[in-house]
C-alpha cells in the first residue's frame, strides 16, 4: 500500500510522471470507483461503495484469486469533468475495472471512454437508457436498471388498475424524460392516455404552479419521476396541496427511496415500482441485510444492493476467465449466461448488458417500501439502438 501511495503522490503532485513498474508477484486487481463524494448524490455514492466492498469482503478480499485494490475518484456528479475523472482512473491509476456512477450524464461520459479504451465498466446506478442502448459495448455492464424499466412496469400496473387519464410530471432532463417515456409506452399499450406531460427545469423544486395545473386537469392519477431532495419536496408539496387524497400519486421507486425519513407521513400509502423493496423476505436478501447492518451499522438501500451486485457481476466474469481480464469476450459471455444471485432476487443479463429483472410494486408503510407484488416479471429493457 505504501508503495502504491508513493506512486500516487508522485503522479498527483508532479502531474503524473510515468509510474515505476510495481514489483509484485501476484498482481492485484485494481478497481476504480468513480462515485460522487460531494454534492447532492454523495449519500448514494457511499451506499454503492459500501455494498461493493461488502461483497468483496465476504469473498475474503479476493475475487477469482486476485486481491482487490480500490482507487477512488470523486466525480462530483459533474458531466463536464467526467472525461477527466475517468482518464485519471484509466491513465493515472491504470485500473483494471471501472465502477460508476450515479449521475446519468457522468455515466454516459464514462461509457464513452470505456468503449474507446476497452476498459471494463460496470454501472451501479445511472439509469440512462443509452448506456445499454446506443452506447452498449461488450465491456460495458449495468447492475442496476434502465430508466425505462420502472416506468414501463408502472405503466402496466396503472393500466391494469383501470386508470384512463394520467398526468406525468418530472424534471426536464434525460432520466425524467426516459422514465416518462417508458411509462407512457406501457400505459398507452394498456389503453390509457397521458393527458398532460408536465416538467420543470432540473433541479428546480418550486412545484406549486404545476400542482395547481394538476388540480385543474383533474386526471385519474399522476405518474412522477423525482429523486433525492426534489422527491422529498414533491411528495410533501403534493400532500400539502391536498392532492394526495383526491388524485393518487404513483412514481418510479426513487421517489421514496432513501427519502422516507424526510418525507414522513406524507409518503404513506404511495405506490412505486423498482427492482428492490424493503422486506422482500428472500433468504438471500435477509442475509445481505444482516451482513450490511453488521458492517456499517445502518440499513442498506437499493443503492447498496446495486453496488453489491456490481461486485457479484465482476466476480462472475472474473471467475470464468480465471482472473485474466484480457479475455474480454469470455468475460462477457460468462456474465451474459450467468444468473446473478442478487438480494433483489436472482436476475440475468440481457444481450445489451442490462439486468433482466423483476420490477416490484411497493407501497410505503411506516417508513418502509413494503413489497406488494411483482409489477412486471423478468422485465428486459428493449436495448433500443444497441448494435453489438
Amino acid at each position: 500500500m505504501t508503495l502504491f501511495r508513493t506512486t500516487l503522490v508522485a503522479a498527483a503532485i508532479a502531474g503524473g510522471a510515468a509510474s515505476p513498474a510495481l514489483a509484485q508477484t501476484a498482481p492485484k486487481l485494481k478497481v476504480g470507483l468513480m462515485l460522487p463524494a460531494t454534492g447532492t448524490f454523495a449519500a448514494l455514492g457511499t451506499a454503492i461503495e459500501q455494498g461493493f466492498r461488502l461483497y468483496v469482503a465476504e469473498q475474503g478480499g479476493k475475487l477469482a484469486g486476485r486481491e482487490i485494490e480500490f482507487v477512488k475518484v470523486d466525480d462530483e456528479s459533474d458531466p463536464s469533468k467526467a472525461t477527466d475523472n475517468v482518464n485519471k482512473l484509466i491513465k493515472r491509476d491504470n485500473v483494471d475495472v471501472l465502477v460508476g456512477t450515479v449521475h446519468s450524464g457522468v455515466a454516459m461520459a464514462m461509457a464513452k471512454v470505456a468503449k474507446e479504451t476497452g476498459t471494463l465498466l460496470i454501472v451501479p446506478n445511472a439509469g440512462a437508457d443509452a448506456v445499454t442502448g446506443p452506447m452498449c459495448a461488450p465491456n460495458i455492464f449495468r447492475s442496476s436498471f434502465s430508466n425505462w424499466q420502472p416506468g414501463y412496469a408502472m405503466g402496466e400496473v396503472m393500466a391494469k388498475k383501470g386508470y384512463k387519464r394520467v398526468v406525468t410530471i418530472t424534471w426536464k432532463y434525460a432520466a425524467g424524460d426516459e422514465s416518462v417515456r417508458g411509462f407512457k409506452e406501457a400505459f398507452e399499450k394498456g389503453g390509457g392516455t397521458v393527458a398532460k406531460e408536465l416538467s420543470l427545469p432540473f433541479p428546480n423544486v418550486e412545484f406549486q404552479a404545476l400542482l395547481t395545473e394538476i388540480a385543474a386537469a383533474k386526471p385519474d392519477a399522476v405518474y412522477t419521476f423525482f429523486a433525492g431532495g426534489g422527491a422529498v419536496k414533491f411528495v410533501k408539496d403534493y400532500a400539502a396541496a391536498g392532492l394526495k387524497k383526491s388524485i393518487p400519486l404513483y412514481g418510479a421507486g426513487f421517489l421514496t427511496d432513501g427519502t422516507l425519513e424526510a418525507q414522513g407521513a406524507d409518503a404513506d400509502g404511495l405506490f412505486t415500482t423498482l427492482h428492490y423493496a424493503d422486506s422482500l423476505g428472500l433468504p438471500r436478501d435477509n442475509a445481505f441485510r444482516l451482513a450490511y447492518a453488521k458492517s456499517y451499522k445502518l440499513q442498506p438501500d437499493v443503492y447498496a444492493v446495486q453496488g453489491y451486485d456490481a461486485a457479484q457481476m465482476l466476480a462472475t466474469g472474473l471467475g470464468a476467465v480465471k482472473g485474466d481480464l484480457s479475455k474480454k469476450a469470455e468475460f462477457a459471455a460468462a456474465v451474459e449466461k450467468a444468473r446473478i444471485d442478487s438480494p433483489r432476487g436472482a436476475f440475468t443479463i440481457s444481450k445489451s448488458h442490462n439486468p433482466v429483472q423483476d420490477i416490484y410494486l411497493r407501497q410505503v408503510t411506516g417508513k418502509e417500501n413494503k413489497l406488494v407484488g411483482v409489477a412486471s416479471k423478468s422485465l428486459a429493457d428493449p436495448g433500443r439502438g444497441c448494435r453489438s
Binding site: 502504491f4 501511495r5 508513493t6 506512486t7 500516487l8 503522490v9 503522479a11 498527483a12 503532485i13 508532479a14 502531474g15 503524473g16 510522471a17 510515468a18 509510474s19 463524494a37 460531494t38 482507487v71 477512488k72 475518484v73 470523486d74 459533474d78 458531466p79 463536464s80 467526467a82 472525461t83 477527466d84 482518464n87 485519471k88 491513465k91 493515472r92 491509476d93 446519468s104 450524464g105 454516459m108 461520459a109 464513452k112 440512462a128 443509452a130 426536464k172 432532463y173 434525460a174 427545469p201 432540473f202
Partner: protein
C-alpha cells in the same frame, strides 16, 4: 529593468518546461497538463477583460461552451474535419456571441455588468440544456477528432498536447503584444478610470467592445480545445460554476498579470488534485473541498496580490520600512489593478449626492 527581465525569464522557463514535460511524463500527466493548459487559455481570455480592462465578466463560460459546442456541431460524425476551417469557425462563433452580448451589456457598469453577463450566459446555458439542439442534458459527442492534412492528428494525445501548448503560447504572446500596444494601454487606462479616458478623448465603448469580442474568441478557442480533448460537450460547460471557477483562477494567480492567469490555472487545478489525492489524505480525500476552501481563504488573507505578488511581498518584507512606507502612500492613491464594484452615482453631481 530587472522586473521586466524576471518576468520574461519566468515566462520563458515556464513555457520551456511545458515543452519538455511530455518527455518525462506518462499519459495521465500529459492529459492532466493538457487540460490545465486549456484552462490557462480560458483564464487568459478572462484576464484580458478583468485584469486588463477592468470588466468583470461572470458569463465567460458561455463563450467557452459555444466554442466547444460549435466544434462538435460543425464536425461530421464520420470524417475528420480540417482544423484549417473548424478552429476559425469555432472562434468566430464564440466571438459573434460575444459581439452580441458585449454590444448590449457594455452599457451597464460595475455589479450590473457582472450580472448581465451572467444573465446572457444563463440564457445560452438554458438553450442547450432545454432544447434538442445540443443534445439536451446528455450533451453530445465528438466522434472524429479534427486533423490538419497529414500533419497533425488531434486524436493523438501528444499532438493535442503540442497543439494546446502552441495555442497557449500564441494567446499569451498575442495578449502580451496587445498589452504593450496603444490599444492595450487604452484598455489599461479604462480599467483604472474610464471617465478620465473619456475626458481625454477616448471613445471608450468601441475599445471595451473590441476587448470583449477578442476575449470571447479566445474563450471559444479554449472551448474548441476542450471539446477536442474530451470528445464530449455538455451544458455544464456553460454553467455559472465554470464562469466562477475561471474567475477564481485569475484572482488566485494575481489580477493584472498575464502570468497570473497562467499560474492561477495551474495552482487551482493542482490544488484540487492534491486535496483529492487519496494517497495523501486517505479517506479524508472525499472532503477535498474543505482543503481547497481553506487554502483559498488563507491565500486571500496572506496573498493580497495573488500568487504573482508573492515575490514582491517578500521583497518588501525583507527590504523593510522604506519601501513599506512608500507602499502605504501608494495604497492611499489607489492600488493598481483595483476593480471596484461599488456603485457610483456618476450622473448625480457631488452637490446633491
Amino acid at each position: 529593468m530587472a522586473m521586466e527581465r524576471s518576468k520574461f525569464l519566468f515566462t520563458t522557463v515556464a513555457f520551456a518546461a511545458l515543452a519538455l514535460y511530455p518527455f518525462a511524463a506518462g499519459s495521465f500527466g500529459i492529459d492532466l497538463v493538457t487540460k490545465i493548459m486549456v484552462y490557462a487559455v480560458f483564464a487568459l481570455s478572462l484576464e484580458l477583460l478583468v485584469g486588463t480592462t477592468g470588466l468583470v465578466c461572470f458569463g465567460q463560460a458561455a463563450f467557452f461552451g459555444i466554442g466547444a459546442y460549435a466544434t462538435v456541431l460543425l464536425s461530421s460524425p464520420t470524417d475528420s474535419p480540417s482544423l484549417a476551417w473548424l478552429l476559425p469557425a469555432c472562434v468566430l462563433a464564440a466571438a459573434a456571441y460575444a459581439l452580441f452580448v458585449g454590444a448590449l451589456t457594455l452599457r451597464t457598469k460595475g455589479v450590473y455588468f457582472i450580472m448581465v453577463t451572467l444573465a446572457f450566459a444563463q440564457m445560452a446555458y438554458y438553450v442547450v440544456h432545454d432544447t434538442p439542439l445540443g443534445g439536451g442534458t446528455d450533451g453530445i459527442y465528438l466522434t472524429v477528432k479534427p486533423v490538419l492534412g497529414g500533419l497533425l492528428d488531434l486524436d493523438k494525445p501528444l499532438a493535442l498536447y503540442g497543439f494546446t501548448l502552441g495555442a497557449l503560447v500564441a494567446v499569451f504572446g498575442f495578449l502580451a503584444l496587445l498589452g504593450r500596444s496603444r490599444f492595450g494601454r487604452a484598455l489599461a487606462g479604462i480599467r483604472v478610470n474610464e471617465q478620465r479616458m473619456r475626458a481625454t478623448g477616448f471613445s471608450t465603448y468601441p475599445y471595451k467592445l473590441a476587448a470583449f469580442v477578442i476575449s470571447g474568441g479566445i474563450a471559444g478557442l479554449a472551448g474548441f480545445l476542450f471539446a477536442v480533448k474530451d470528445g464530449f460537450v455538455n451544458p455544464e460547460l456553460m454553467s455559472w460554476h465554470l464562469s466562477g471557477a475561471v474567475l477564481i483562477m485569475i484572482i488566485l494567480g494575481g489580477l493584472g498579470h498575464l502570468r497570473g492567469a497562467l499560474i492561477g490555472a495551474f495552482a487551482f487545478a493542482l490544488l484540487q488534485e492534491l486535496f483529492k489525492s487519496e494517497a495523501i489524505f486517505g479517506d479524508f480525500a472525499k472532503h477535498w473541498q474543505l482543503g481547497l476552501g481553506l487554502t483559498i481563504i488563507a491565500s486571500v488573507a496572506l496573498l493580497p496580490r495573488g500568487i504573482v505578488g508573492v515575490p514582491r511581498q517578500w521583497r518588501e518584507r525583507l527590504v523593510g520600512r522604506r519601501i513599506a512606507t512608500t507602499e502605504v502612500r501608494h495604497e492611499l492613491a489607489g492600488p493598481p489593478p483595483r476593480v471596484n464594484f461599488r456603485v457610483r452615482s456618476a450622473e448625480v453631481p457631488n452637490e446633491l449626492a
